[in-house]
Subunit: 314 residues, 2 copies
Amino acid sequence: MATLTVPAAVPPVADDVEQLHKAFEGWGTNEKLIISILAHRDAAQRRAIRRAYADAYGKELLRALGDEIHGKFERAVILWTLDPAERDAVLANEEARKWHPGGRALVEIACTRTPAQLFAAKQAYHDRFKRSLEEDVAAHVTGDFRKLLVPLVSAYRYDGPEVNTSLAHSEAKTLNEKIDKKAYNDEEIIRILTTRSKAQLLATFNSYKDQFSHAINKDLKADPKDEFLATLRAIIRCFTCPDRYFEKVIRLSLGGMGTDEEDLTRVITTRAEVDLKLIKEAYQKRNSVPLERAVAKDTTRDYEDIMLALLGAE
Amino acid sequence: MATLTVPAAVPPVADDVEQLHKAFEGWGTNEKLIISILAHRDAAQRRAIRRAYADAYGKELLRALGDEIHGKFERAVILWTLDPAERDAVLANEEARKWHPGGRALVEIACTRTPAQLFAAKQAYHDRFKRSLEEDVAAHVTGDFRKLLVPLVSAYRYDGPEVNTSLAHSEAKTLNEKIDKKAYNDEEIIRILTTRSKAQLLATFNSYKDQFSHAINKDLKADPKDEFLATLRAIIRCFTCPDRYFEKVIRLSLGGMGTDEEDLTRVITTRAEVDLKLIKEAYQKRNSVPLERAVAKDTTRDYEDIMLALLGAE
């Protein structure tokens, strides 16, 4: 379900490294060459390239890239080149430090990665920032959002398929009672959403629909402008339909007044090796236009080129 | 600093397994033989014995032990025989299910293990119980204790030596302000204690003493009967002086009306391979009597024998 395309015959790492070094040399940078290599290598191949580049030239590849390219193109290339766990650590740190109620990176990292992947991101966070993700979220986020986001990024959820159906029934009831009273920040809602396994939550949301004849997210739309409610809905959608969740983030990043490259880059770089093909299908279905065409319309130059390359455009 | 004694020449695993099988055979069980083997093998050796026993006799060693021995002796042998991470998972599950305000197993597991060991316990919890530690604690513990214990067992703390001294200064101030107002369950106290690294917390407690000329734990003794305050003090002592913390748990388990074998067994089995020597020294210093003698006085028979063996008695 990935969109990443890797050539049938991948050149030796030493050749890739030499080509990248050439792309940085002399007057001007050869952005096309950078994209033609990095945007067509998988995580393990990019890791090997980073290691070999540092060995050959005594300089980190990411630092060399940072010296040569700039702005949104730089951010896209660097995020993409990072290992998935490191990339999540960087995105989580960015959002924790300048947190705002509309931020979605923490929710996505906590709810669309497997528990093992989330843990790997936390290890990468320690290595890179010499602090824990939990303490940074707890120190920077405030109020109800803190009550929700700290446990959300902290819990090591069970990852198995086992479901307790009577628990799903009773916790669906608990959710409905609290939502009925508009007690959206209630401890019980937070406890259920932040600690139960994905399989258990899906059973709970299904039971909710069966018992109360609405999807839980419909009932969480009482006030469309309330960002806390929007965050609860995002959490639920990340578990129930990540492809449609990400489709919407991309749609909103492209539509309207100017493009939100931050969101677009985050979704494209984090999903290109995972499920971007499904997200593209969801986009085409919802917007009657291929995602590549929409992205090409709203972006330009090197940034456009790397986005399209990661989207698997021909 | 361990008390565990392993013979200079450890018999082959196959011999240990055969001897254990003999100890179970016929009328009566040879408890001395069980102790002479299991209480003198380290975690890796016990793991090898469990694997070889299951291979040789088609039955789990722990199940065979459970069929032969009973009561507090059984609990001690089985907890000891388990891998450290599995043992922590079992102890945490026991306490989460029948949680009471005086329980200390969750605090000890969250605060005296390294972050990597706590994570290993959580993985063992998934494997064994098909649920997460976090969800069980959140589902069974209530009120202020839930607000404290769920983040305490959830966070993956940073484990490095780096300390931010100005942060330590300001967070010591925050702790003092809240304690002064008797706002012991305040979100900020909980945030600091549950998310900061051990090194950072030690710096914060030192700064507290420097700024306010009391140890923080002195200021948390306003009401000696308040179990929430006692839990906060236990958390702090587990970070600052685990040997003296465990000495006190043992002292209280032995003194007074009857022996609390649950606490005694937990501390001896979890620390025998870690720091029980330091705990013994702390006990001798505080009580002017060797710990072995105090344990021998308050316990009997096979249970006494395994406790003394794990304590490294000659």
